[in-house]
């Protein structure tokens, strides 16, 4: 019985809080953390909308699929293009209805549901004080002596690892099994996620790590350390894009639309480089911060759309698995 007044009090308190509308945004863990782009974006959007933006973090797509139509999410941000097929087929998402002609992506983009907010390319990062002659092509990497130590991520547990097997598939096609066989002796190990790999690289456990073309920017801008570079390959680099989408079942459609539109604004986009450490999806290069403008970028950008990626995925992973299991 004693609990009753407390519960009643809580209910009153909650109903008072409902006065300010709440926009619930599902995001990957890194995004909403203190060290990701989330907090800045939250403050900027709350200043515009007079609402309360609340992030819910965790495994984005599994959680949404588990919750189904009951989800509290109004918007979900942080999808990767290689898994959007599954997301789209769930029918949980609604078209954003925005004009996306202002996008500055290096690939054609016409998706009416998933809206890009940043991009980068897969790349091997190395320490330019230790490896003086940069590798200029994937072929050169395959032919490099076997004492070059690489660490990569597992395509079965990591999105960047998946991007690598698709990249290999794009460059080598039918020959990817042979290409993997040449690369295999140089691969020190495979890690579950990006963090383990990158930690091993910064510890000196590997000469090169699978990461992104934008990774050196972090070291240059935040640490004033110009020693990390991305090896730019002639064959081209695989495109990695992060996307946001509005939930079809949102009970805050206006706010959700406002947020989706906010993604394309200069205010949002200019926060991306130095908090997400990637290229903004809709901002001309002239407005990029120093350190990003100078980053070497690949001339050729390779990309599989979601249908191609879904169709090739199992085969590409199997090529990787059988070559590295020898």
């Amino acid at each position: 019985m004693k609990a009753f007044p407390l519960v009643a009090g809580l209910l009153i308190a909650t109903s008072a809080a409902v006065e300010t509308p709440v926009l619930t945004v599902y995001a990957p863990d890194y995004f909403a953390s203190e060290w990701g782009p989330g907090p800045g974006i939250e403050a900027a959007f709350e200043a515009r909308c007079g609402c309360d933006l609340v992030y819910k973090t965790g495994e984005l797509l599994p959680r949404l699929l588990l919750e189904g139509a009951r989800t509290e999410a109004d918007v979900a941000i942080g999808f990767n293009s290689d898994i959007t097929k599954k997301a789209r087929e769930s029918g949980l998402f609604a078209p954003h209805g925005l004009d996306i002609s202002a996008l500055t992506l290096p690939v054609e983009w016409s998706d009416d549901t998933f809206l890009p907010f940043n991009y980068s390319h897969t790349a091997f990062i190395y320490d330019n004080t230790k490896l003086s002659e940069p590798l200029s092509s994937f072929d050169a990497l395959l032919e490099a002596p076997d004492d070059l130590r690489l660490v990569i991520q597992d395509p079965r547990s990591s999105i960047s690892g998946l991007a690598l097997v698709l990249w290999m598939n794009h460059v080598y096609g039918d020959k990817s099994a042979e290409a993997w066989a040449k690369l295999a002796p140089k691969i020190v190990t495979v890690t579950k996620g990006w963090s383990e790999s990158y930690g091993m690289f910064t510890d000196g456990e590997a000469d090169m790590v699978l990461s992104y073309t934008t990774s050196p920017a972090y070291h240059i801008i935040a640490e004033d350390d110009p020693s990390k570079s991305a090896a730019i390959f002639e064959e081209g680099h695989y495109f990695m894009v992060e996307l946001a989408a509005k939930l079809a079942g949102t009970d805050n459609a206006d706010l959700a639309d406002q947020f989706m539109a906010f993604i394309l604004t200069e205010e949002f986009q200019s926060m991306i480089p130095t908090s997400n450490w990637s290229f903004p999806a809709a901002l001309s290069e002239a407005k990029w911060p120093e350190g990003f403008r100078e980053l070497p970028v690949p001339e050729t950008v390779l990309f599989y759309n979601e249908d191609e990626a879904a169709a090739l995925r199992d085969e590409a992973i199997e090529a990787w698995r059988s070559a590295l299991s020898q």
Binding site: G58, E59, E72, S157, V190, K192, G204, W277
Partner: protein, 502 residues
């Protein structure tokens, strides 16, 4: 009647707490999934690496525990406490610590290279086993050390006065009783290995069932397959557990007067040297990677962000809650069916368990609101098998030694526990509580599915920092985690050993 109803009820409750969520995942996934050849390969690898890791950890623990049981030296209790640490480190931190010593650019290679020694390559099956021994040797040492301490001092005295071989009459029977349980528990832990096996195994050859579960869950969203694999894990764990329990004989050594043990048999020069060598080797193997973790964490410590401290406070509360819950669940489970039921909790993938609870709770309540209680519960379920393994021998001994006397005096229920059992279980209780607290401190568990931005635990913050290039802060946070876990472990363990000359 009531005496029997409680343990059986508790065993059923714990089994239900594992089986229900797994069933929920099955149901949502639409029935069992199909397994491919790669999954069976993963199953084979999982099995043999777990068996080998458990066998090696247990075998190596025997001489170390024996040395620790019969030597007194300054810093001994500190060393015994520190040895609990590898077991409780977050995986990512432990990997980097191990690589700092055994890696290509690690301590051993940096010392060895100028001396012309061949380069040590850690990556491969041997790396997986090395890492698993690193994690589990301390647990095995503690479990076996307890066995040694359970032999009454009077027995050694008797053996010495009869000039009887201590190894044959006392130690070997004790090991036969203790080792199968230690092996079983470690085998089950290694069944669930994933990131360690993959990273140190050097790639997809070292694929475990847990990785296949993660893939099914995260990329394929094939819940049926995830649940099928989880049930396979569960059967393996249960099989191993049941076998271990069956192999272990029951008889004990009878009671003693709790006098300090004096070991007449270890007085020669050779036994001294051998014991010292084993202790030094074990200490170096376990402490060097921990030292590397601590050293790399120091520079970032002063600048640790506030979020890390609040996460630390949350993790502490979580650990203490999980400890209380685990002990409450464990006491009625100190029986053979209880131990088998408890093995369920650690056999099954935490990811599947978490998903199951998510599915069960989501229609009733917002998952974020129960993030911490659910994490606590899952942590408690994971810690139960260790706690029971630690407590059961003590309780059975107390029952055998004092049960008849207590019955004659009419002691039952709570009074029996308070007067007879709890004081005799004090030492294992302290160790069990310390282990649970430290384990829940370091566990990432199910929090990733339930957590909001503001319910992050300390291990989660370590991963977040690493994911945002903040390697220095991540190392400092890892050091904080290590220190807090050790502090909790040491505090409880010490509490259990107060007034005991152990």
């Amino acid at each position: 009647m009531a005496q029997r109803a409680l343990p059986i009820g508790a065993a059923l409750l714990v089994a239900g707490m594992v089986i229900l969520p797994v069933t929920a995942v099955f149901w949502r996934g639409g029935g069992p999934g199909t397994l491919g050849p790669a999954d069976w390969a993963a199953l084979r690898f999982t099995l043999w690496q777990a068996a080998l890791s458990a066998a090696l950890s247990t075998a190596l623990a025997i001489p170390v525990a024996r040395a620790l049981s019969r030597r007194r030296f300054p810093g001994r209790s500190g060393l015994v406490a520190l040895m609990g640490a590898p077991f409780i480190l977050p995986v990512i931190v432990a990997i980097l610590g191990l690589l700092a010593v055994f890696g290509g650019n690690g301590l051993i290679n940096r010392i060895g290279a100028p001396l012309g020694l061949p380069r040590l390559d850690i990556y491969g099956y041997h790396g997986v086993i090395l890492a698993h021994v690193f994690f589990n040797l301390p647990l095995a040492v503690r479990l076996i050390l307890q066995g040694w301490l359970s032999i009454p001092a009077e027995r050694f005295r008797l053996a010495a006065s009869l000039d009887a071989p201590v190894w044959r009459v006392l130690e070997r029977p004790m090991l036969r009783r203790v080792c199968p349980g230690a092996f079983g528990v470690i085998f089950v832990i290694c069944l669930g290995s994933f990131a360690v096996a993959l990273t140190l195994g050097g790639g997809p050859r070292a694929t475990t069932v847990e990785l296949a579960i993660y893939q099914a869950f995260r990329f394929d969203f094939d819940l049926g397959k995830a649940a099928t694999l989880a049930v396979l894990q569960l059967c393996l764990g249960l099989g191993a557990g049941a076998l271990a329990l069956r192999l272990a004989p029951r008889e004990g050594f009878g009671t003693g007067l709790d006098r300090l043990t004096d070991r007449w048999d270890g007085r020669g020069r050779l036994p001294r040297v051998i014991d010292a060598l084993w202790i030094l080797l074990a200490a170096a193997f376990l402490l060097a990677p921990l030292g590397a973790v601590a050293l790399s964490g120091l520079p970032g410590l002063p600048a640790l962000p506030a979020e890390v401290w609040s996460a630390a406070a949350r993790s502490l509360a979580l650990a203490l809650g999980a400890t209380a819950l685990t002990l409450a669940l464990a006491l009625p489970l100190l029986s053979a069916p209880g131990e088998v039921a408890a093995l369920l909790g650690i056999s099954v993938s935490g990811l599947v368990l978490g998903t199951g609870y998510f599915l069960l709770l989501q229609p009733l309540i917002r998952p974020a609101e129960v993030a911490l209680p659910v994490t606590m519960l899952v942590n408690a379920l994971m810690a139960l098998p260790f706690v029971i393994r630690i407590l059961r021998p003590g309780l059975e001994a107390a029952r055998a030694d004092y049960g008849r006397l207590a019955a004659a005096l009419g002691l039952t229920g709570w009074r029996l526990w308070r007067i007879v059992y709890l004081p005799r279980l004090r030492r294992p209780l302290g160790f069990a509580a310390g282990l649970t607290a430290a384990l829940s401190m370091g566990d990432l568990g199910v929090i990733t599915l339930f957590a909001d931005g503001d319910t992050a635990t300390l291990p989660l913050q370590v991963y977040r920092l690493m994911g945002s290039y903040q390697m220095e802060a991540a190392r400092a946070a890892a050091l904080l985690l290590l220190a807090l876990s050790l502090g909790l472990f040491w505090g409880f363990d010490r509490g259990g050993r107060a007034n005991a000359a152990i």
